[in-house]
């Protein structure tokens, strides 16, 4: 594979596309699939065949178009976006192909949800067919790899990534360039690159969306990383709950191998790299890097103390680079357009864009990519479209079980690593769950504690026993049977578990409790002193309304 070959593939793909007069893209990612978009695509295919339009109308299954709550989504080459499409609409859509859009199904695209986004990682989502490498190449795919291999030394690649200011998108925000250079300098008989696709935070689905919509982008990012740090073997560790993302990766890896973009002697150089898929088995703690490594080694996913960090001694004791899906997906554009370009987006300390999954009690739910530094208010009320049903906003939860709940008085905070940490929450992997007045914050804290209690691997005592005890107290509060002493004990436990647990899971498990205690103390008080739940959630026998 040479640059010329790549250009040829891109050209013939563009030609193939130009032969069709019209194009219709149907979202077949998990969100729209759940609202039966496959039936829509099948209906369109059938209708095209019935009309004998196979030669001039292309129906393509694409990745996530973003606005999951309005799915199934269909977009046309002329720029129309249709929402809540059903199979019976196929004929009407084809009647309007290449003409004025079909007003009945039209989804307005001049709303902030679309025009306030800046798409870098998700630039191909909903545009290319994730099952065809040619489509990715036609969109400029693998040209960053060509550039890195052909024009740059590994040190220059690392320099470019450092210059971009990119920070780990898995949650902690460790500078990516620094991590890469540590692994590059480390000495070992072999080095590994691991992509952490164990997106475990409930309510977060950005990585799933990226993998389902544009799997080759992640592979290209891993290849560039491997070249930069000198690794020859890679793993993608993906959770079993994402069957479609696994399917797309299983299809994408052999395609890249066939074109000589993976394997030995990549693109005619001496660079060798192969990637294997490892499917997780439902353990949240495996998102922690040392636990993930144990799991790749076929063991129970329990973390170990650091140092040594995986950059020095990771998989099989060898230097290992672990980055999150979104981090790798950000790399190709950085190499293509330069680190300075990327560093021009975002805030002083948080560069670039971040993909969020916006869910909860909000009008527009789905995947959005915004520049760092955007305000939470803009996220919730403009992009998210506000709270439906005339209810009032209460809090936005970021960072999953390791994060916290941010109340309305901090809505003007900028979304970046430092600002969110100051509020007692974290950026996290990008899950953003909006809650309105019908949510009880004590119940939310209990929910996350229940999660951490079950997901605690049991290796260290503060986490294993502490989460259990905290959950017991939170249950007592929601049952209206807690005393003020219990609350004091809860606060002490939060402090203890945070400071004495072995890994991130335990250290951050108290965060949802601490942040709600701080911002919603009156709700705790109402449960304990007045035995009432202001939101009317607790104490109600669930399931009794049958």
């Amino acid at each position: 594979m040479t640059r010329e070959n790549l250009e040829q593939i891109a050209e013939s793909e563009n030609q193939r596309r130009a032969e069709f007069r019209d194009g219709i893209n149907v979202c077949v990612a998990t969100g729209c699939l759940a609202s039966k978009s496959q039936m829509v695509k099948d209906a369109l295919d059938r209708e095209v065949a019935n009309r004998g339009w196979e030669k001039h109308c292309q129906v393509k299954g694409v990745g996530c178009l973003g606005l999951c709550s309005e799915g199934p989504l269909v977009s046309t080459r002329s720029g129309a976006l249709y929402k809540k499409v059903i199979a019976a609409d196929a004929g009407d859509i084809l009647d309007h192909a290449g003409k004025a859009p079909l007003h009945r199904l039209l989804c307005p695209t001049d709303i902030p949800f679309f025009h306030d986004q800046q798409k870098i990682v998700t630039e191909n989502s909903g545009v290319i067919d994730p099952e065809r490498i040619e489509d990715y190449i036609a969109a400029g795919g693998y040209s960053a790899l060509m550039k890195a291999l052909g024009e740059m030394t590994p040190a220059q690649v690392i320099q470019e990534v450092t210059k971009s200011g990119l920070r780990g998108r898995g949650g902690a925000g460790y500078p990516t360039g620094l991590k890469w250079s540590t692994v590059a300098k480390a000495v070992g008989t072999q080095k590994f690159v691991i992509c952490n696709a164990d997106e475990g935070d409930p309510g977060a689905f950005m990585d799933r969306s990226v993998l389902e919509s544009d799997p080759h982008r992640v592979i290209e990012g891993m290849l560039i990383a491997a070249y930069a740090v000198g690794a020859s073997e890679g793993y993608i560790y993906i959770r079993a709950e994402y069957p479609l993302a696994i399917k797309q990766l299983r299809a994408a890896l052999p395609q890249a191998e066939q074109l000589g973009l993976l394997g030995t002697g990549i693109c005619g150089t001496s660079f060798n790299f192969r990637i294997e898929l490892r499917v997780g088995a439902g353990a949240y703690v495996c998102g922690e890097e040392t636990a993930l490594i144990a799991s790749v080694e076929g063991k129970r996913g329990t973390p170990r103390p650091r140092p040594p960090y995986p950059a020095q001694a990771g998989l099989l004791g060898q230097p290992t680079l672990i980055n999150n899906v979104e981090t790798f997906a950000s790399v190709p554009p950085i190499i293509r357009k330069g680190g300075d370009w990327y560093a021009g987006i975002g805030t002083e300390k948080s560069k670039g864009t971040k993909v969020f999954s916006l869910t909860g009690q909000i009008r527009n739910t789905g995947v959005v990519e915004v520049p760092m530094g955007i305000s939470l208010r803009k996220m919730v009320f403009e992009i998210g479209g506000g709270i439906p049903a005339g209810r009032k906003f209460k809090a936005v939860q970021t960072g999953g079980p390791s994060g916290g709940c941010i109340p309305s008085e901090f809505l003007d905070t900028a979304v970046d690593y430092e600002s969110l940490a100051q509020l007692g929450s974290i950026m996290g992997s990008g899950g953003m769950v909006v809650m309105d007045e019908s949510s009880c914050m004590v119940d939310v804290a209990k929910y996350f504690m229940d999660f951490c209690m079950i997901e605690s691997c049991g290796k260290c005592i503060p986490c294993r026993a502490g989460t259990y005890q905290m959950h017991r107290i939170l249950s007592a509060i929601t049952n209206m049977s807690a005393t003020p002493e219990d609350l004091k004990m809860l606060e002490e436990l939060c402090d203890l578990v945070k400071h004495t647990s072995l890994c991130g899971l335990g250290q951050s498990a108290p965060n949802p409790v601490v942040s709600t205690l701080k911002s919603f103390a009156t709700e705790y008080k109402a449960h304990i002193e007045e035995h009432t739940c202001p939101a009317g959630v607790c104490g109600k026998a669930v399931g009794a309304n049958l």
């Binding site: 689905f205 790749v296 129970r300 869910t359």
Partner: protein, 166 residues
């Protein structure tokens, strides 16, 4: 000097063991492939029984306790046969605040079992999952392979009643 230890024979004539063997070969017949191999066993047999665990452990030369430890550590693996149908309630954050607790309570009430169990005659397995991803459509329930969006306790009860009746 490396000693050659013969690979044990498959527990029985079932052809599906060939698929299990294939996974072990693909991962280099190494203990590193334990999780991958257990995935294959569960995929083709539906669950991991003692026979399978013994065979995989012996083939990959790991202790039975390690194989059992891995099989019980990860939520995804099950040591018991699953029901004819499966009802999986998503309990991710977005689904939780949109009422998945009521769905799970209804399912428990209808089937008389806890999540992770199957009904006595093997009609239905009840599962609770940690976020399956289509969070915009919560609360979601997965019936067999089909995702039901914005599910209500009423619809869930009806579906389960139908399954139990057939």
């Amino acid at each position: 000097m490396a000693t050659y230890i013969a690979k044990p024979a498959a527990p029985d004539q079932d052809k599906r063991w060939k698929l299990v063997d294939e996974t072990m070969r693909r991962t280099g017949q190494h203990s590193r492939g334990l999780i991958e191999t257990l995935h294959t066993v569960q995929q083709v047999f539906g669950y991991l029984d003692e026979k399978a665990l013994r065979y995989v452990a012996a083939s990959l030369r790991v202790s039975l306790s390690r194989a059992y430890g891995v099989a019980t550590f990860y939520h995804y693996f099950t040591l018991k046969p699953v029901g004819k149908h499966s009802c999986s309630v998503c309990t991710g954050t977005a689904c939780h605040i949109k009422g998945s607790a009521a769905l799970l309570a209804t399912a428990k009430h209808e089937l008389g079992i806890e999540p992770g169990r199957s009904t006595s005659k093997g009609e239905v397995s009840l599962l609770s999952e940690r976020c399956i991803g289509p969070c915009g459509l919560g609360p979601v329930v997965v019936y067999d392979q089909e995702v039901a969006a914005e599910e209500t306790p009423k619809a869930l009860a009806l579906r389960l009643k139908n399954w139990m009746a057939t």
